[in-house]
């Protein structure tokens, strides 16, 4: 996927998806420095913000791993990033059928909790997987990192009776999702 592109989450056979996983992976860019602090350095956190009519209603992040209604679940915090084998370092599961009726958009963000910029992150990606069969529906790789500490990755939003995913990829700054709110609102 490219920035701004949208895909529908209808299945090819016409049925709609019931559960999707938003997976995030990243690696710390290798750079010269003191040993020991290197691999632990970059702690990216994935968050999902649930919106109803552009008002944030609930947030799933490392301190609140399950939305109150149980439809959005975070698999847990990864403090160091991966070795880049393609696996997800953090994942957020969305049970689309259980998302409360008033929630119309779910925005996925990544921020650098430890404050490094995305210049020090490489191979960051986010992908959307059909949780029922493990099939990858969309993958969006972050282009070259810049001087920012957060990124609004994508959103999943209602469209008609089903759901749609839109790649966003807009940079922002902040350690946690609260700092990102001003940057999220324009993309809703």
């Amino acid at each position: 996927m490219t920035k701004g592109q949208a895909i529908s989450l209808q299945k090819n056979d016409g049925g709609s998806l019931t559960a999707v996983r938003m997976g995030l992976g990243w690696q710390a860019a290798p750079r010269r420095g003191l040993f020991g602090s290197r691999t632990r350095e970059i702690d990216l956190d994935a968050s999902a913000v649930l919106f109803a009519d552009k008002q944030p209603v609930d947030v799933v992040f490392f301190r609140h791993l399950v939305s109150d209604d149980g439809s959005v679940r975070h698999t847990g915090d990864n403090l160091v990033g991966g070795v880049g084998a393609g696996g997800d370092d953090e994942a957020i599961l969305v049970d689309l059928a259980r998302v409360p009726v008033h929630i119309d958009q779910i925005v996925f963000t990544v921020n650098s909790f430890t404050g490094q910029t995305f210049q020090e992150v490489q191979n960051a990606f986010c992908r959307l997987v059909d949780e029922t069969n493990g099939q990858e529906l969309a993958r969006y790789t972050l282009a070259g990192g810049g001087q920012y500490t957060a990124q609004i990755m994508a959103k999943v939003h209602r469209s008609g009776a089903g759901w749609q995913m839109t790649a966003i990829g807009s940079p922002a700054n902040g350690r946690t999702f609260q700092d990102l709110m001003p940057a999220i609102l324009p993309v809703l």
Partner: protein
């Protein structure tokens, strides 16, 4: 190109910065030792382990985990280091597997920084070993190589370290295991086994939680932090300073005084498959089946299923409430906008806009209600099959299972303390199951509560009724001789209500009356707590006097603080604090107002007890969302003789057991 090593094989290492990934499918300890050119490990400071995870050029995990990533920088190692030995060990004393033969073959991969695998090695053929040297990285003519070793040690970490000529091997091994056990104790989840929340900033932090429930918690360990404490609301109208209302956890927490870990069981192992629901008909939800949850026994599966239903009801109600709140706030905003728009005053536009706002509200609420009804129907269908399948300890008094009562041979996993419901749940009641042995005492609140209009005497009688029903349940589900109940009733005020317990003779002795009786019972139980504590701390639980009654003890205190002097109050507080860990529990039947003269002195006492009410009252909060749940006590149906029949059998069993 990845080299798949076999035992003894070596392979050159192209890079100095490496990661060694370990996966074992079960939590294991990973560490590394550094050796000189002769392979000698010079001291404990040459060993990286969970208690001391970082050495120059080497970093290992701080705790046991199923997957590890060890970071190695060969260039950063001291020049005197010629060998890095990667070792794995099974944690001891945590209820995990006792030998590597019982777990999946550990797999190791040496990778570069970009994740490319240099070499992999699967350690096969392990049997009784509990520690193993997996790999070694070694310097040969200025270049580093990796060798697959796979040498196991049945004598564990101590033997492994001793084999490397480490003088303090035994002490170090013990230290490593202790560090790991500390880490595991924090990261293993108590039931319910579903993914619990990490503690949330908007909730009161639990006094019982460990200090590590924060962001830096566990990256590798399973997300097993305990459910957060549950804030209670005291009938909705409590002043905020009422400490008993601040925290009323409903049940499962780790970090409490009782460790529910099965000594022979590994907490993270997959349990056998539960009975599965038949495949759903197309377009219909699956038919519910009793026991459709994970667990090692039917009791455990039902326990987990009930907790699953509890969580589902909490969450679906949260979704409904959130949607309704949103619909209302949006409607209000839209109505305000209409009101402040001057155009709406001069034409019919305003009415139309108001109408539209109300229609939007109604539509969203209808949708939310439909989703809630769908889930409630599903849960009700599940409850309909689960309730009749429940074992005695989980069943209501009106369940036929009680009519076939037989004195049990073993202590059940949990006990039903009553029912829980929400205003929306409409006839659906969730059994409130708490683990046995009890983790905290109970306080049956005889004070005014909820919406009950009963007068004070009536409430006191109901409270004691509730206490009797609960004590009878405990007596009935414990094997004979494993549970004793003492009663303090200083003024004899509860004699009639206590009759179901006193008449068949299931108590440890007649209810204690008067100040002398109070101090006698408290003195004996305090002494017991002291004795057991001393024996446990001294590591000599066998040293208890012969004939020592090993049963769990429950002390019912009626009419508190009548008959209590300062010394007795102090003893009571001591029992509340120290008792649960050594099997001595309190059940206070009391109105806090009666003890008001003690002021805040007794606040910790009330706080340490789980508050239950003799009449339905919404004071218990769930651990996920924090709804206020209405608690209903497990009272015996009017006119039923079930309590009498069950307790008669209990009394018979006690008499024959005592002989």
């Amino acid at each position: 190109m990845t080299a798949e090593l076999v035992r003894g094989q070596n392979h050159p290492l192209p890079e100095a910065r490496l990661e060694i990934r370990v996966s074992a499918g079960t939590p294991i300890v990973a560490g590394a030792t550094l050796g000189d050119e002769h392979g000698k490990v010079h001291g404990v400071e040459w060993v990286a382990h969970p208690g001391a995870p970082t050495l120059p050029g080497l970093e290992v995990s701080k705790q046991a985990a199923a997957d590890h990533r060890l970071a190695v920088d060969l260039d950063a190692l001291s020049p005197s280091v010629h060998r890095v030995t990667v070792l794995l060990a099974l944690p001891t004393g945590t209820g995990g597997p006792a030998r590597f033969g019982a777990v999946a073959a550990p797999f190791l991969a040496v990778t570069g920084l970009d994740g490319s695998e240099v070499a992999t090695y699967t350690i096969i053929g392990l049997q009784t070993e509990t520690a193993v040297v997996a790999l070694e990285l070694y310097r040969r003519q200025g270049a580093w190589k990796v060798r697959a070793v796979g040498q196991g040690y049945a004598g564990g970490l101590a033997e492994l370290l001793a084999d490397q000529d480490l003088p303090e091997a035994r002490q170090l091994a013990a230290g490593i295991h202790e560090a790991v056990a500390r880490g595991l104790a924090r990261s293993v989840a108590a039931p319910p086994p579903r993914v619990p929340d990490a503690d949330r900033p908007r909730q009161t932090p639990a006094p019982a939680l460990g200090p590590d429930q924060t962001h830096g918690g566990s990256g590798t360990a399973p997300q097993g932090s305990p459910p957060p404490p549950v804030g209670g609301s005291h009938g909705g109208g409590t002043a905020p300073h009422d400490p008993s209302a601040d925290t009323q956890p409903t049940a499962p927490m780790v970090g409490g005084p009782v460790n529910y870990a099965h000594p022979g069981r590994q907490t993270t192992a997959p349990p056998p498959p539960p009975p599965t629901a038949p495949p759903a008909q197309p377009g219909q939800p699956a038919q519910p089946v009793a026991g459709d949850a994970t667990g090692w026994s039917m009791d455990e599966r039902l326990y987990n299923q009930v907790w699953g239903m509890f969580e589902d009801l909490a969450r679906t109600t949260a979704a409904y409430r959130s949607a309704v709140d949103f619909a209302e706030s949006r409607m209000e905003q839209e109505l305000d906008r209409v009101l402040s728009d001057p155009r709406s005053r001069i034409s019919g536009q305003g009415d139309a806009a108001r109408e539209a706002a109300r229609a939007k509200h109604a539509q969203l609420v209808d949708q939310a209600r439909a989703a809630l009804d769908r889930d409630l129907d599903q849960l009700r269908a599940e409850a309909d099959v689960v309730e009749p399948a429940l074992p005695m300890a989980y069943a209501r008094w009106d369940n036929p299972v009680w009519h076939g009562y037989r004195v049990p041979m073993e202590v059940p996993m949990a006990l039903r303390l009553g029912d829980l419901r929400l205003p929306e749940s409409d006839g659906l009641r969730i059994p409130m199951l708490v683990r046995l042995p009890l983790e905290r005492g109970l306080w049956i609140d005889a004070g005014p509560s909820g919406d009950s209009f009963a007068d004070s005497d009536e409430l006191r009688r109901l409270a004691l009724d509730t206490a009797v029903a609960l004590a009878a349940r405990l007596l009935a589900v414990y094997p004979p001789g494993e549970f004793s109940v003492h009663v303090i009733d200083p003024a004899g005020a509860g004699a009639t209500t206590l009759a179901p317990l006193t008449r068949p003779g299931v108590l440890a002795g007649p209810p204690a009356v008067g100040a002398a009786g109070v101090s006698d019972v408290l003195g004996r139980l305090t002494q017991r707590v002291d004795l057991v504590q001393m024996a446990v701390r001294g590591g000599a639980p066998d040293a208890l006097p012969p004939g020592f009654d090993t049963a769990e003890q429950l002390l019912i205190v009626n009419d508190f603080p009548h008959g209590f002097d300062d010394r007795a109050v102090t003893q009571l507080r001591y029992l509340a604090d120290e008792g649960p860990a050594v099997g001595v529990h309190l059940m206070m039947v009391a109105d806090r107002q009666d003890a008001a003269a003690y002021g805040p002195l007794l606040d910790p006492l009330w706080r340490s007890l789980l508050r239950l009410t003799p009449t339905p009252d919404d004071h218990l909060a769930d651990p996920w969302v924090g709804h206020a749940w209405t608690y209903e006590p497990p009272l015996v149906p009017p006119g039923s003789r079930i309590l009498h029949e069950v307790l008669t059998q209990v009394a018979d069993a006690r008499r024959s057991w005592n002989r």
